[in-house]
């Protein structure tokens, strides 16, 4: 199983990025599960998704002990919490939220192996871990073996859940140390403490890393990488900013033709398609309800019961629910299910839609169904 995982805050600004990632995940027919880890504070409203499972985690930015505001703390902390709570066993595809799928990732990795994107900004030196001693000499005090070679990879990366579990706490700890120790330097706290901390934690745990072409930035002319990272603006053929993720607001119209041909234009084309789809409505009509693996059904005296993995109780469906469940075969879209049931019960067009969507939404929430793009 491949778990595609990304972490965000609970703020509204992360929602369109998360929905775009979700849309591209479904469009690419990425196998496995999509998980959004949400670093939340008391009182935050958790976002909802059609395809992604939302997991609430503790908020670590600002750092609870140093007060340092640095969003990557949330990533390592959320991964630590998620792995600790769920103890999953499988391949994890770690993404930044500003990523979309161009195609599916099907390769899995075993324990002790990681495949990651080349770390372009990696700058070796003569200090601990082969880092520049001018900036990293302090690591001598906090790391047992400073001779380890660091893996020069970054996200997106594929890592086994067991390895993620082993290194996440150290990743989070080192990030805090790197930021605190560099806070008084002329350039301020280390901006890429996230990448450096990950690399040290991975090296200390003896996890082998291979470079793979997983991610591509918007300025590339072409690439076979399955994931597109749009943290940088998309440029026009004249080198001007044609689209900037920092200023884009959800629902704004997108002009793909303004971008230079290449990966940047591909992103804007996808975004325009996503915006158009969003304008069509809640989007349920183009989704296919599929029964989740492991869900078992049984009939007792004419009543239908569902046994759902992870739930202690069985779920009883009434006759309407059972009729809907029976047509959720993974082939029919919600629109087709509406039509089939309306014909079967002789009801006017559109009269059952609200009820059917409510039942399917509930079956999705309790883990009996997942909604996949048509």
């Amino acid at each position: 199983v491949i778990y595609t995982v990304f972490c965000t805050s609970a703020g509204a600004e992360a929602q369109w990025q998360s929905e775009l990632l979700e849309y591209s995940w479904g469009r690419a027919r990425q196998p496995g599960e999509l998980v959004r880890l949400v670093a939340s504070r008391p009182g935050d409203t958790l976002p909802r998704h059609r395809l992604a499972r939302v997991v609430e985690t503790l908020c670590w930015s600002p750092h609870p002990y140093t007060g340092d505001a640095y969003p990557p703390y949330n990533k390592a902390a959320a991964l630590l919490e998620w792995q600790f709570a769920e103890q999953i066993d499988g391949t994890v595809l770690l993404l930044e939220p500003q990523c979309v799928f161009r195609s599916s990732v099907t390769a899995e990795v075993g324990r002790g192996q990681v495949a990651g994107t080349a770390w372009a900004d990696w700058s070796p030196g003569d200090g601990p871990f082969g880092l520049p001693s001018s900036h990293f000499a302090f690591l001598e005090r906090f790391c047992v073996d400073r001779t380890l070679e660091l893996p020069a990879v970054t996200m997106p990366l594929l890592i086994h859940s067991c390895d993620l579990r082993r290194l996440a706490a150290r990743w989070l700890e080192l990030m805090g140390i790197l930021r605190a120790e560099s806070a008084n330097s002329p350039t301020g706290p280390l901006a890429n403490a996230d990448e450096v901390a990950y690399a040290i934690a991975a090296a200390e745990n003896g996890i082998r890393h291979d470079v793979a072409e997983f991610g591509v930035a918007t300025d590339a002319a072409q690439s076979v990488a399955p994931v597109l990272d749009y943290r940088r603006p998309v440029l026009s053929a004249l080198g001007e900013i044609a689209w900037d993720p920092a200023t884009y607001r959800n629902g704004d119209s997108v002009h793909a033709e303004r971008a230079a041909p290449g990966v940047g234009r591909e992103l804007l084309t996808l975004l325009a398609e996503f915006v158009a789809r969003s304008e069509q409505g809640p989007g349920l009509a183009f989704l296919r309800p599929c029964r989740r693996k492991g869900v078992r059904e049984g009939k007792i005296l004419g009543s239908l019961f569902l046994d759902i993995p992870g739930r202690a109780d069985t779920v009883s469906l009434n006759s309407s629910g059972a009729a809907i469940w029976e047509v959720c075969d993974g082939d029919r879209t919600l629109a087709e299910i509406n039509r089939d049931l309306e014909a079967r019960f002789g009801m006017p067009s559109g009269s059952l839609r609200v009820d059917i969507e409510a039942v399917i939404g509930r079956l999705e929430r309790i883990g009996a169904l997942r909604l996949e793009p048509a």
Binding site: V54, Y65, T66, G67, A77, V144, D145, I177, E204
Partner: protein
């Protein structure tokens, strides 16, 4: 010590039902079932037996047990039953709260800590509780270990886990006063009888035990037993039943300090110090009043106050 036997049981239940199951002779469920048979309890209890290697479970109530056929025969010495006392108070039996973190440190950090323990043989002294009591505790300890650089490896990592552990135990993140550490060595015959770590004058809230030993392991026994607790009118005491945790190298066990626990006797045939079961015990003390200036671990973490994002947090919340 004799090997623990596997006991094949056929449990006959009311209504003519029968369930076959195999349990180790020290399984708490075994004692609970025989206790229920011999002394019907005023309150009915749920028994859950693992089946098919833990992939399934059989659940029934103690009042449903009619008879138990065991092979080989089991003669259980039944001590006083946990809830047989007549009292005006409601008596509750609660499972211990604990969590296990394997691979707590990196492999090199673990090796470094073990090397430190092995090189520190001269510094270990006989461990005491409030005063030296060999009936209660026998092991060797470095009391000042908390001041060492090596203790910071564990303390700093534990502080990273702290908010998550608090959430796991459904307790608020509290301001810290002290992070206290001891390094202990348990050799042949060493043990620490049932106790808990909190006391009115010692505000320990969370306890953790980090295990280290050389490989291959030169000792047997030494498990940590975490006891169910019986609460009668606000007075807590350990039950007879418990959960055992193996002392595996590089494993951290964390539990609220109020939980009753016991370190079982260690058997160390070589009697060599290097074959001992070593453990770093760390306690997080709650501060009576917040201290924003207090630093912990490597000195970066100001844990003398609870962070605003954790203050007043409802700690057990379902995700959507």
């Amino acid at each position: 010590m004799a090997e623990l036997r596997e006991i094949q049981l056929r449990i006959r239940l009311t209504g003519g039902h029968e369930q076959a199951v195999t349990l180790r002779e020290d399984a708490p469920e075994l004692l609970a079932m025989f206790t229920a048979l011999s002394t019907p309890l005023p309150e009915d209890h749920l028994i859950q037996l693992p089946l098919d290697g833990g992939r399934a479970a059989c659940s029934f109530r103690t009042s449903q047990i009619v008879a138990i056929v065991s092979e080989p025969p089991v003669v259980t010495v039944l001590r006083k039953t946990p809830v047989a006392e007549k009292s005006a108070h409601v008596t509750r039996v609660r499972r211990p709260r604990f969590t296990i973190i394997d691979d707590f440190l990196g492999p090199q950090e673990h090796r470094e800590l073990l090397a430190f323990a092995l090189a520190s043989e001269e510094q270990f002294k006989a461990g005491s509780v409030t005063s030296y009591d060999p009936d209660q505790r026998q092991n060797l300890v470095i009391l000042g270990f908390g001041e060492s650089v090596h203790s910071r490896l564990i303390q700093n990592r534990l502080l990273v886990w702290f908010p998550l552990l608090a959430k796991t135990f459904a307790m608020p993140v509290f301001p810290l006063a002290v992070v206290e550490s001891q390094l202990t060595a348990a050799g042949e015959g060493h043990y620490f009888k049932v106790h808990n770590d909190d006391a009115p004058n010692c505000p320990r809230v969370l306890s953790s035990v980090y295990y280290l030993h050389r490989a291959p392991r030169g000792f047997a026994g030494g498990e940590l037993r975490l006891y169910d607790s019986i609460d009668t009118g606000g007075v807590r005491r350990p039950a007879e039943t418990f959960t055992a945790v193996e002392p595996v190298a590089n494993r951290l066990v964390v539990f609220p300090s109020e939980e009753f626990h016991e370190a079982m006797p260690v058997r160390c045939p070589s009697r060599e110090f290097a074959d001992n079961r070593f453990a770093v015990t760390t306690w997080l003390h709650r501060a009576a009043s917040p201290d924003p200036a207090a630093t912990f671990g490597w000195g970066h973490f100001r844990c003398g106050v609870a962070a605003p994002q954790f203050a007043g947090r409802p700690h057990v919340r379902d995700a959507a």
